[in-house]
Structure formats: structure tokens, C-alpha cells
């Protein structure tokens, strides 16, 4: 009999700590599937963020480093410059990449570092109890915007992918989502394309993934996926943003 679905070899057979319906676990799996498909498990070095994915190294069966909050791309750059023949990626939340680590991600992209970034945009700070993130939608209620994000007080949702795409050092940037099976497959393809961009030595690649956080959106997993389609992807349009 032909096996049509199995756990990727790069993903350890352990239960995760993620809430049910959390996008992190879907993306973890996709990253591992692609690593297996490319046959690079022994060549990969990942940098895990401070955020809900901080212990991704418990799930990923390859070399991993932690990084201080937001400094994730710096740690990835340091590793990649020492081992240019390895495949190095950072995995970052929106607090990590778009708030505390804004300077680091911009300059990493601007130097055209040949690394890959998986950017999990869930519009909140999951790990610290659902505060407002730079990517929180206008009007969205969070634990630090209980009446909804107010542009006069809190500013606008930040489109990091569009911002980064202005930099010549950035070679491939795509925004995807994991709200339905078709989009999950597109995410998988984007992850593969980004890693191949690095393996071909083209330069900085980033995949932004709109990802549900049912817990701090106050929604069921199913409604959280619906919210991505109905609201989030209106503010953060899906598709290839740059492919140079």
C-alpha cells in the first residue's frame, strides 16, 4: 500500500505546546516537509525567536540556535557568514520582526544576507498574552487595545514585506497564509522557493505567513481561519511581492 501522508523525518514525534488551531504548528510541519524534500536536514541551521515559537528546537530535528528578542536575523547572519555552505533560516513572529527587531531585519535585508526568513504574522504578541503588535488590524481588540486599535493613538498596521521589498538586497518576498488547504499548499511552495533562492546564492528571501492565533483573537480555530480570509488578507494582500 502506498503511504500518502506521514510525519516528516525532520519533525520530531513529540506533542507540541501550541494551542489548538495555532498556525505555528502548521508552518513548522511545512518547513520540515520542504527540508526533507530538498534533502538538507543535515545542512540546515535554524534560529528560533523569542515568542510562541521559542522552543521550535524541541520539534525540529536539526541544528538550532536561540536569539534574543528581535536579534534573530543577526544571529542567523553570524552563522551564515561562518558557514556559507549551510542553509540558514530565522523564524520570527511579528513582535520579533516588526517591533523590537525592525532595525535588524531591515539591515539584514539591505546587506542582502543570503539567509531565509519565515515571518509569522498573527497580528498579536501570542507569547505574552495577546498584546497589540505593529501588524494588529485597525479596530482589532487586544490586551493593550481593549477598545480596538486606534490609528490616532497606535498608528497603522505595518506592512513589513512591502517595506522590505524596496531594498535591492531583498530578492524574494511572498505573503501567504495557512487558512485553508489550498493556501497551505501555496505556503509550502513559497517556503521551498525561498530556501532554493538561498541555496542558489541569490540573496535575502522572506516568506510572510498570515497565521491564526485563535487564543488571542478570541475565536474558534475555524473562525480564526475565516478571519484571515475576510479581514487580515484584505489589509495584508497575499501574493508574490518581490521576485528579483
Amino acid at each position: 500500500m502506498k503511504k500518502v501522508f506521514e510525519r516528516p523525518a525532520s519533525l520530531r514525534a513529540v506533542p507540541t505546546h501550541y494551542c489548538s488551531g495555532c498556525g505555528h504548528s502548521i508552518v513548522h510541519r511545512l518547513v520540515c516537509e520542504v527540508i526533507d524534500e530538498l534533502g538538507i536536514r543535515e545542512d540546515v541551521i535554524a534560529v528560533c525567536p523569542v515568542g510562541c515559537a521559542v522552543i521550535a528546537y524541541e520539534y525540529w530535528d536539526f541544528d538550532c540556535s536561540e536569539a534574543p528578542h528581535g536579534r534573530t536575523p543577526c544571529v542567523a547572519t553570524g552563522i551564515k557568514r561562518v558557514h556559507p555552505d549551510k542553509v540558514v533560516f530565522s523564524y520570527q513572529g511579528d513582535g520579533d520582526l516588526a517591533a523590537i527587531g525592525t532595525a535588524e531585519i531591515i539591515h539584514t535585508a539591505n546587506r542582502g544576507e543570503n539567509i531565509t526568513v519565515f515571518f509569522i504574522n498573527n497580528g498579536v504578541y501570542g507569547m505574552t498574552n495577546g498584546q497589540m503588535a505593529p501588524t494588529t488590524l485597525i479596530g482589532q481588540k487586544t490586551s493593550t487595545s481593549i477598545h480596538g486599535r486606534d490609528i490616532t493613538r497606535d498608528g497603522y498596521p505595518m506592512k513589513m514585506s512591502e517595506l522590505l521589498s524596496q531594498l535591492p538586497g531583498a530578492k524574494y518576498i511572498e505573503r501567504v497564509s495557512v487558512d485553508n488547504p489550498a493556501n497551505v499548499l501555496k505556503t509550502r511552495a513559497a517556503i521551498k522557493k525561498a530556501l532554493k533562492c538561498q541555496m542558489e546564492g541569490k540573496g535575502f528571501s522572506l516568506v510572510e505567513i498570515l497565521s491564526p492565533c485563535p487564543t488571542y483573537w478570541g475565536l474558534s480555530p475555524k473562525d480564526a481561519c475565516r478571519r484571515i480570509e475576510d479581514e487580515m488578507s484584505k489589509a495584508f494582500p497575499l501574493g508574490v511581492i518581490k521576485d528579483a
Binding site: D43, V47, C64, T77, G78
Partner: protein, 362 residues
């Protein structure tokens, strides 16, 4: 080997190359810029990596990554920039990652000024960032000593898997002195040493390595701290370094380090011409502080005088070593002031001949 003239900052750069450093990241700040300038071309020549980072936060974390990958890595800055690096230094201590961090201190607090200072002693020797950790601190007093101590710093960092700091000041960094320098060419890629089984190199033929400082399991973080403290105790017993001058027959011992010790040295030679029994104790490692070695001097000497370019920071370590057995005096200049030879001689005389020096007011 012929000696050449080089400034302290440049010598530290060349010594790093000589020690096999293949990765440098820095951000401009006076008075350490010569080191960043030097590394910008020298790393390239030597087959290593130079990155002019967007901030000191980025620089220290670039170094964290390079170190996790197994390379000998260095960053440098001066006081305000070193404050920014503290987060990364704490993470590296916790992840047990080696690195060399250079602080050419300037006057503070705040933006302060660019005059020489020793006011970051507390920050350097007490940990600086959050958590129970220490960095070894080496304090060269001459350009030649900077050449030797920089190489030692890389060895110590690797041996103990802990960040090591070179603590100097604007005078040491910018002063030129003759030094014997051996220029080496390194192939950067070879320098990732095989004796770092913990390094991230891709998990071919072994279980995956993880570099981490987060330990949430019951008792796990306490265990990491226990291991770190064991390491620190070993460093305290094995690594204190110091120089002593005329301490065998001295009634008064002046304690000073780095640039200040040079001024003290010439003050003492003048004072001895005047038959004053005064000597000098110069800590070379500020952490571990040569506590036992200094304490021994309390048996023979009647008093101590601490001289610093600060409001009195190493003074605390001297007090902790002498433990009240002898009086401890202090002469210091804060905010970029440099103690003069005359003022030090005056202070020595005040202590050794207090009566004969009664001031007469007209």
C-alpha cells in the same frame, strides 16, 4: 623581530587575527574607531568576515551567531555602546558561548565625553547584563600588553566557553607604542575548530546541537546556574593575574590598573627617590580580581591607596580583599579626568607623613 609603532586599538585587531579570530562586527564610537577601521580591511585580507553593524545590539548578536557557529569572534565599542551590548553578553554567558568584547572606556554616565575613563569597572566585573553571570576582564596597561592579552582572551573564552572582555580606555586605545607584531594569514574557513563539538555546523553524523538559554523545566535553570558557578569558581582559583612593584618593602601599596597604573608607576619611582616606602599592586585580571594576592600584602603594608579614573569602583574590590585589616585611601577623577603624577605623590605623602604635611593657613 623588529618592533613597529601601532596604537592600542590597532594592535588589538592584529592580535585578534593572530589568535585566529575570523569574525568581527562593530559600530563606530570614539575612542575605539581605529579598531573598527583596522578590522574592516584586515578581516578581509585574512579571509574572515567584517560587518559594520547597524547598532551595537546587532553587532553583539552577529558575534553571538558566529560564535554559535564555532568561529572565534570579536566585537568592540566604548561605554555607551557596551551598555547596549549587555543583553547579548548575558545571552552568550547563558548559552556558554565564547567571544572577545573590547571596551575602550570613555567618560560617563550618559553620552559623557570622549576622554579616558575607568568608570565601567562595575559594569564589566559584576556581570553588566541580567542574571547570575560573569565575564572575565583583562586590563592591559601598555600596547604590548594589549597584544598579549588579546590573544590570551581568545584562549580563555574558548577554554571556559564564556565571553571575555578587554577593558581599556581612550589613552590605551589611541596611544602609539612600539610592539613586536607577527602578521599571520588565516584561511577563515579552517578556523572553525573541530574541538567545539557543541557548535552549530549542520547535524551530519551526529545528533542536532542546540544553542539555548531558555530552561523552563523544573530545576533546569538552577542546574545551568550551578554549572556556571562551578566554572566561575574554577576561574577564580586559576586565572587571577597581577603585577606587583616594590611590594616587599612597602608601607603603602598603591592599587591601580590600566592607564592609571602607568601614572602611578612614575609617581612611585619619584616617591622612592624621596625614600618613601611605597609600592604598586596592579590587577591584570579585574575579574577574577586577584583578591588573595592583594590580601597577602595586608600582612606587611600599613595602608593602601586606590587610584582610578572613576569615583571609586575597583575600590570596592580592594575593600573586599583587605576586609578592614588596613586603612584604604582613595584618589580618583570621574567624568574623564586623569589623575596627575603630582596629585598621586601628594596623596602618598599625605598618608605616609601626615604630620609633617600640616597645612599652614596665612
Amino acid at each position: 623581530m623588529a618592533k613597529i609603532l601601532m596604537c592600542g586599538n590597532e594592535v588589538i585587531g592584529e592580535a585578534a587575527v593572530h589568535a585566529g579570530c575570523t569574525f568581527y562586527a562593530g559600530y563606530p564610537i570614539t575612542p575605539q574607531n581605529e579598531l573598527t577601521h583596522y578590522m574592516s580591511f584586515r578581516m578581509q585580507e585574512a579571509g574572515g568576515t567584517f560587518i559594520q553593524a547597524e547598532s551595537e545590539l546587532a553587532a553583539i548578536n552577529l558575534v553571538l551567531g558566529a560564535s554559535a557557529a564555532g568561529a572565534r569572534a570579536m566585537t568592540s565599542s566604548s561605554s555607551p555602546g557596551i551598555s547596549l551590548k549587555q543583553e547579548g553578553i548575558s545571552y552568550m554567558a547563558a548559552c556558554q558561548l565564547p567571544a572577545v568584547i573590547v571596551n575602550m572606556m570613555r567618560g560617563g554616565p550618559g553620552l559623557g565625553n570622549i576622554a579616558p575613563s575607568q568608570a565601567d569597572y562595575f559594569q564589566a566585573t559584576r556581570g553588566g547584563g541580567h542574571g547570575d553571570y560573569r565575564t572575565m576582564v583583562l586590563a592591559p596597561s601598555t600596547v604590548e600588553e594589549a597584544w598579549n592579552l588579546t590573544q590570551l582572551a581568545f584562549d580563555l573564552a574558548d577554554e571556559y566557553r564564556n565571553p571575555v572582555m578587554i577593558l581599556g580606555d581612550g589613552i590605551l586605545g589611541q596611544m602609539m607604542e612600539p610592539v613586536e607584531v607577527v602578521r599571520r594569514h588565516l584561511n577563515g574557513r579552517n578556523a572553525v575548530s573541530s574541538h567545539k563539538p557543541w557548535a552549530l555546523t549542520g547535524c551530519k553524523g551526529r545528533k542536532p546541537n542546540v544553542v539555548r538559554s531558555l530552561f523552563l523545566g523544573e530545576g533546569e535553570l538552577e542546574e545551568l546556574n550551578r554549572i556556571m558557578q562551578m566554572k566561575y569558581n574554577k576561574i577564580k582559583s586559576k586565572e587571577p593575574r597581577f603585577e606587583s612593584l616594590y611590594t616587599e618593602d612597602s608601607d603603602l601599596v598603591v592599587v591601580a590598573y590600566g592607564t592609571t597604573s602607568r601614572i602611578v608607576r612614575s609617581a612611585i619611582s619619584k616617591a622612592r627617590h624621596e625614600h618613601l616606602h611605597v609600592g604598586m599592586f596592579r590587577p591584570v585580571t579585574l575579574w577574577p580580581f586577584p583578591e588573595a594576592q592583594l590580601q597577602k600584602l595586608a600582612r606587611k603594608s600599613k595602608a593602601f591607596l586606590v587610584v582610578e579614573m572613576s569615583a571609586g569602583q575597583m575600590l570596592d574590590d580592594v575593600k573586599l580583599s583587605i576586609l578592614g585589616q588596613r586603612p584604604i585611601h582613595f584618589h580618583g577623577r570621574a567624568g574623564g579626568g586623569v589623575p596627575t603624577e603630582e596629585a598621586i605623590i601628594e596623596a602618598i605623602k599625605d598618608i605616609l607623613k601626615p604630620k609633617s604635611r600640616k597645612r599652614v593657613y596665612a
